[in-house]
């Protein structure tokens, strides 16, 4: 009898130690997943600061902040989309389209800045909603739908602009891209505001919770009575909206609407989101990660420029980076599932 009791307590102790062990391992794992990117960021930051004196100058930093803002705003929308385990390939050409429409309205039709911008952004938001409707109601994969819209948006931008830049924007419009509030560029303020708003939406609204749940398991979400379709449609609307805002900043910066201006944005936004730890399989990720991913990508690109690496090679580097991150994501998932 006594022996049995001893054994029981032994077993209890053993199972307790197993549980605490497991918690510890999980905590370390999750910690690395969460904060690993920050460590890498500071590491890269340090290397670039040491290797070139031009990196930590005021002018360069302002340049970086402006640069990351456009990718960052699209990245926030893309985080929503990727959390749903979907993809939006249309954001780059939507950003171009917005610029062309706004510039066309202002320069050719003489509309004031506010109307030009509002109308242009409504167009991309609508495009997003329509994409969401096709994806959910007709049940076509987002890859195909957004690829189609990529092409359409690009073509519409070409048709409106006839292939030429529409330049000559008014001052208040240009201010959005080139203006400063004290030492901080306006685009960066917009980016940070949007990032904070996105974070709040994901963390403190049921809409945000729905996004995580649907991305994690769409069937479970449906069977839990969650409005799956509505959530998805709205997310694609948001992604279109973000592409619109980003496109306005872009047009304001280059003082014209150009049909190919936004082309690089898609790739960078997806890379930033994935580097930031949002899983392409959906359900896991954060806006904070995306923001750091955007910065990491921004300083890497800036650093490579300053050091004098050819833009052609930079593309190779960027491509390799996204492949690496996707492989890591895949491995992380494999470990988790099995």
């Amino acid at each position: 009898m006594k022996k049995g009791a001893n054994k029981d307590t032994e077993l209890l102790e053993l199972s307790k130690s197993i549980v605490t062990n497991r918690i510890l391992i999980n905590k370390i794992k999750q910690g690395l997943q969460k904060y690993g990117i920050i460590i890498i960021f500071f590491f890269v930051f340090l290397i670039i600061s040491i290797s070139t004196p031009h990196f930590l100058t005021k002018r360069n930093i302002i340049n970086i902040l402006r640069q990351v803002s456009m990718v960052g705003i699209i990245g926030c929308g893309m985080t929503f989309v990727i959390l749903l385990a979907e993809i939006d390939l249309s954001v780059g050409s939507m950003a171009s389209l917005v610029g062309v429409i706004a510039a066309f309205l202002q320069v050719v039709k003489g509309a004031n800045t506010f109307i030009a911008i509002t109308f242009a952004i409504i167009v991309t938001f609508t495009f997003g909603i329509v994409m969401g409707l096709i994806i959910t109601k007709v049940k076509v994969h987002s890859f195909v739908v957004t690829l189609g819209v990529l092409s359409i948006a690009k073509a519409v931008a070409l048709i409106i602009s006839k292939g030429h830049p529409i330049s000559g924007l008014e001052r208040p419009f240009r201010f959005i891209g080139g203006g400063m509030a004290g030492p901080i560029p306006i685009p960066f303020i917009l980016f940070i505001m949007i990032a904070i708003l996105s974070y709040l939406i994901l963390t403190f609204t049921i809409f945000g919770k729905y996004i995580f749940a649907i991305g994690g398991n769409i069937e479970t979400s449906r069977l839990s009575g969650i409005p799956v379709d509505r959530t998805k449609i709205l997310v694609f609307g948001i992604s279109g909206l973000m592409a619109g805002i980003s496109g306005i900043i872009l047009a304001a910066r280059i003082n014209s609407g150009q049909s190919i201006a936004g082309e690089g944005l898609l790739f960078e936004a997806i890379t930033a989101v994935v580097i930031g730890g949002t899983s392409l399989f959906g359900g896991v990720g954060s806006i904070g990660g995306t923001v750091i991913g955007v910065f990491l990508l921004g300083i890497i690109r800036n650093g490579l420029n300053l050091i004098g690496v050819s833009p052609f090679w930079q593309k190779v580097f960027n491509g390799a980076l996204i492949l690496l991150v996707v492989v890591l994501d895949r491995m992380r998932r494999r470990i988790r599932v099995y």
Binding site: N21, I25, G216, L223
Partner: protein, 502 residues
């Protein structure tokens, strides 16, 4: 006695923080079915995975037909004559039966341009299937076969590889009663061919029917090997859990109240026919029937997951329109799907997020929700249901099967459901957790909920249900009250589709 086929001695396997197998001995004779029993986490799968080459052992010796071997990978295990038939089959859905059986070992014809000799392959496959006494068309793609037939293809594949030891992991989990009979016939056939079978199952009642010897594992140790014919079920359970569980008797004196759910003339073109029944407050209604008789389809139709074409559903006497799960949840109906991992949980999200998922709208304030509200709501049910989890933030994929099921139940308790549609709530979870889940279901009813419970475990249905409905080919063909139901009567009704007045 026949010859010793496989001998495992002193097998030890350690994972970080866990001693999964502790000096375990295990052997299989020719023509024998050796049952491996144990609760989840007892070490069964680890032992099997070592044998099939998926894991490497830390220490110990494996002997096959007198020769000591080191199994390095699954392919090597197959070469040694060890075949494993997992719960999830490893068949290629779009290849035909014969192509699957000979996958990677196709007979070749032609000298210069080598190509698969389809005729010979088909003929071989046909012969193998015939030998087993199985009637399956070798030319049709595997995805068109039912679960039971797919399993037969797996077994045939194992045999075609000259398997000496055949490992079956929960082979009856997804089979109906007559399919199980068919499987047992095939296993007996394997025994005649002098194949040794290692048989893992949670269904204790089927073990005396098929097993010769039983080895019980608990906490990574071999508790003992006993004869299947001469060991009583309660002593097996005692060996498995290490403590005596009293056979739970559920009081049949219950206060059954007014009508909660009424289904009237419900039909759907693809397999539900004119279904009528009611569930009252405080009542557990069982839904028995073979796999494919329409039980799951019925539950999903009521829940709006696959809406029905015709018929009416009343909740508390009110006619309601349920076109989607959203409508059902609004009527406080809960559906707990059979496949927890696929349909019941968001595995990559935390316990607290899963529990509050259907309730978010209710507990939020105009769409906004604080972390504390989520934590508080979830915590209440984690405590109530005694869900074992290191924290509320733990991802649900790390929980055991029983605790995962409890999270799914907690979800619907949290959303204050009145009507619970359970689909095989105790399948694939260990004995201790099964009892807990059953208690929970009874408790739900005693607190005024109405429960519809689909189960293939007849003794379970009889044990906890007040009334039992039996389905046959999309219709309800019989109804029994809890007192005078017997496994034989229910089975007869489920098999024949006869209306037997209980």
């Amino acid at each position: 006695m026949s010859d010793l086929l496989l001998k495992m001695e002193g097998i030890t396997k350690r994972f970080p923080g866990v001693l999964a197998l502790d000096n375990v001995d295990f052997d299989v004779y020719e023509g024998e079915v050796h049952v491996l029993l144990g609760e989840n986490g007892a070490g069964k799968s680890t032992l099997i995975k070592i044998l099939s080459g998926a894991y490497e052992k830390d220490s110990g010796k494996i002997t096959i037909e007198g020769k000591t071997v080191e199994i390095v990978n699954p392919h090597h295990a197959q070469d040694l004559g060890i075949s494993t038939i997992y719960q999830e089959f490893n068949l290629v859905p779009y290849l035909t039966v014969s192509e699957n059986i000979f996958l990677g070992r196709e007979p070749i014809k032609g000298k210069i341009v080598k190509r698969v000799n389809k005729e010979i392959m088909k003929a071989h496959a046909k012969k193998l299937l015939l030998d087993l006494g199985v009637d399956i068309d070798t030319g049709i793609p595997v995805y068109r076969l039912g679960v039971a037939d797919q399993q037969m293809v797996e077994i045939t594949k194992a045999l075609s590889m000259k398997a000496r030891v055949c490992i079956m992991d929960e082979p009856t989990a997804a089979l109906s009663a007559n399919e199980i009979e068919e499987l047992f016939r095939v296993i007996k056939r394997l025994k005649k061919e002098r194949v040794g079978v290692i048989y893992i199952s949670h269904r204790l009642e089927e073990i005396p029917l098929i097993g010769d010897r039983i080895t019980v594992l608990r906490d990574g140790k071999n508790i003992g090997t006993v004869s299947a014919k001469e060991t009583r079920m309660d002593s097996l359970i005692q060996m498995m859990v290490g403590r005596k569980i009293a056979e739970v008797s559920y009081h049949k004196e219950r206060s059954i109240g007014e009508e909660l759910l009424k289904v009237k003339d419900l039909s759907r073109k693809d397999g539900l026919n004119n279904i009528n029944f009611i569930i009252r407050k405080g009542e557990v209604v069982g839904l028995a029937g073979l796999v494919g008789s329409g039980r799951t389809e019925l539950a999903r139709a009521i829940f709006g997951a696959e809406p029905f074409d015709e018929g009416k559903v009343y909740v508390s006497g009110q006619l309601v329109e349920i076109k989607s799960p959203q409508d059902a949840v609004a009527q406080r109906i809960a559906y707990l799907p059979e496949d927890r991992k696929l349909d019941g949980l968001v595995l990559v999200r935390s316990v607290q997020e899963n529990i509050t998922l259907p309730s978010l709208k209710r507990i939020s304030h105009k769409g906004f929700i604080g972390r504390n509200i989520i934590r508080k709501s979830a915590k209440e049910y984690v405590t109530k249901l005694i869900i074992k989890t290191p924290s509320l933030e733990q991802m649900t994929m790390y929980l055991s099967g029983g605790n995962q099921q409890k999270v799914v139940i907690a979800k619907w308790l949290c959303s204050q459901s009145d009507i619970f549609l359970f689909d095989e709530p105790t399948r694939g979870i260990d004995v201790g957790a099964k009892a807990e889940i059953r208690n929970l279901i009874r408790e739900l009813a005693s607190q005024g909920a109405g429960v519809l419970m689909i189960s293939s475990d007849l003794s379970e249905i009889i044990q906890i249900c007040d009334r039992i409905l039996v389905m046959y080919q999309g219709t309800i063909c019989g109804e029994f009250s809890g007192e005078d139901a017997s496994q034989e009567k229910i089975l007869e009704c489920a098999l024949m589709g006869k209306v037997v007045r209980g």
